[in-house]
């Protein structure tokens, strides 16, 4: 929007009313700037400006070894840090053709699903807050705390765990892990009913979300809107089903699809995904096989020269990792195809001719994480 700011006043379209949502704005969930052209309350068009927390992670990866890259992937999508870690590990293991102990696969899958639940919990909290129901925020965070405690006990960190490492996980699970996960599942199954009662079934919420931000399946594919947002448009794009990794080929779960294509359907997909994730955890938690928590790895990990690609299903969509290796211990080029980046690109398309309040709801339903966009 530099052009617009620098234009003489006479050249600016008098009819349009530009407002800057962000970089500091309560509903952009971070430092995202949306330049919105309004006509009254109606959004005419919108230009996202990102890069406010661009840290050059792809450049930093080029000087880091593969185990070191893991702590950077934590910071891309901080809400699904464990899944991003998992992607790097899968890529390295695939390139080196290492057999991973089954115990590790179980642990990683459980951790991934816990990550998904907590990410969706936080998303639910902030969704409620964006629509003005502030109490949702505290209920979501309250329940998320239990998962953070489970993580803290096993991995030592609450948020950016760096728990995966190529070949396995950093430490074996804590003896209390299974007990605590069971306790969490038991509690959360009760609490998630409150989520439905306070928000999902609420008439104001339904009016705010139904028919808002229609994203057709064709558009979702063309814009690359993956994850729950894409599945809300009826696009079966769950990597856990299409390209199963870890334990996902062996557990029973449904890919949640909805066909209303609006904010409400994206919302309901995430709500049901929490149930599905709990279902997956329940199938795995009692059957974790004994064994080592890590495969034997060389001290220095060097990928053979070549190109590697790995995709995983993060809480926001498909996270793709594209690595060009020249045989060194550091990648030659590492590209992260982050879900939020593609999901952001559709925001302009689906929020046209909606109201500002709808824009907030649509933005929340895409579940954007700003570091995931900026990297």
């Amino acid at each position: 929007m530099k052009e617009i700011i620098n234009l003489p006043v006479s050249k600016i379209d008098e009819e349009e009313y530009h407002i800057n949502m962000g970089p500091q704005h309560p509903s952009t969930h971070g430092v995202l700037r949306l330049v919105v052209s309004l006509q009254g309350e109606i959004v005419k068009n919108l230009k996202p400006h990102c890069g406010y927390i661009h840290r050059g992670i792809e450049k930093m990866c080029e000087k880091d070894t593969y185990p070191q890259i893991i702590h950077l992937t934590d910071r891309i999508d901080y809400l699904s840090s464990h899944i991003s870690n998992h992607a790097v590990c899968l890529l390295v293991e695939k390139a080196l053709e290492i057999e991973i102990p089954e115990r590790v696969q179980y642990i990683r899958t459980i951790m991934d699903e816990l990550t998904r639940i907590q990410s969706h919990q936080l998303w639910w909290s902030s969704f409620g807050m964006d629509l003005g129901g502030l109490t949702c925020f505290f209920y979501g965070l309250r329940d998320r705390e239990m998962i953070l405690d489970i993580w803290e006990e096993t991995t030592g960190s609450r948020f950016l765990q760096s728990y995966n490492c190529p070949g396995g996980v950093m430490q074996d699970i804590h003896p209390n892990f299974q007990k605590k996960v069971h306790a969490f599942l038991k509690t959360f199954k009760k609490k998630i009913k409150d989520y439905d009662r306070i928000l999902s079934g609420n008439v104001i919420f339904e009016n705010r979300s139904q028919g808002v931000g229609i994203l057709s399946k064709e558009d979702a594919i063309s814009y690359g809107v993956t994850g729950p947002s894409g599945r809300g448009s009826g696009w079966s794009c769950d990597v856990r089903k299409t390209e199963p990794y870890s334990m996902y080929s062996k557990v029973q779960f449904n890919e949640v699809l909805r066909y209303e294509c609006d904010t409400y359907s994206r919302y309901m997909v995430r709500m049901q995904e929490m149930h599905e994730s709990m279902n997956i955890i329940e199938q795995l938690i009692d059957n974790i096989p004994a064994g080592d928590h890590s495969a034997k790895m060389k001290a220095v990990i060097k990928l053979p020269a070549g190109e590697y690609f790995q995709q995983v299903e993060s809480a926001r969509g498909e996270l793709g990792l594209y690595v060009v290796s020249d045989g060194n211990k550091t990648p030659y080029r590492m590209k992260f195809r982050t879900p939020s980046f593609s999901n952001l690109s559709v925001l302009d398309h689906i929020s046209r001719d909606m109201k500002i309040a709808d824009l907030v709801a649509i933005g929340a339903s895409l579940d954007l994480v700003i570091p995931d966009i900026d990297r």
Binding site: G51, E58, G224, F309, K335, F341, L344, S345
Partner: protein, 152 residues
């Protein structure tokens, strides 16, 4: 479609395409001039139907600059990787594919931002992450910046 028939089909569209061996996905190196034409056919042919552009990555191979397109078909569940390369480091440019896959608009802006690769006919080719007045293209291998990059 399996990889063999895909190969045949693509060589039929672009006879100059080179198949790269030993890759995870079927990978073709395509002359830059054929890129847009090929992309259009990949999307529109019903038996190919590559409707999902998963990832657009710029790569700096030292001498050459390349753009890698990861394609997927949601219908036929097959995948394809298209590569274009150029030797022109001073003014690299390719045709845009964002009229075919809308997601390319942002990904191409990112590639332009990081590698300085221009995409012809792109509707809004500006830097996406860095400032408009940023000098150089950071992900190129010959990029030197003493001020902003802290070496340990």
């Amino acid at each position: 479609m399996d990889n063999d028939s895909l190969t045949a089909r693509i060589l039929e569209i672009v006879p100059d395409a080179q198949l790269e061996e030993n890759k995870q996905f079927l990978t073709f190196l395509v002359p830059a001039a054929n890129l847009h034409d090929l992309a259009l056919k990949l999307k529109s042919s019903p038996e190919l139907a590559f409707d999902f552009l998963f990832c657009v990555s710029g790569v700096d191979y030292g001498k050459q600059l390349a753009v890698v397109y990861h394609l997927n078909s949601t219908q036929h569940k097959h995948a394809l990787v298209i590569k274009v390369k150029t030797d022109d480091r001073a003014n690299p440019n390719f045709d845009t594919v964002c009229d075919i896959w809308r997601t390319a608009e942002f990904h191409e802006r990112e590639t332009y931002d990081m590698f300085g690769i221009r995409f012809n006919n792109h509707p809004d080719l500006r830097r996406i992450f860095l400032e408009e007045d940023w000098k150089g293209y950071p992900l190129r291998k010959d990029y030197v910046d003493e001020v902003n990059i802290v070496e340990f």
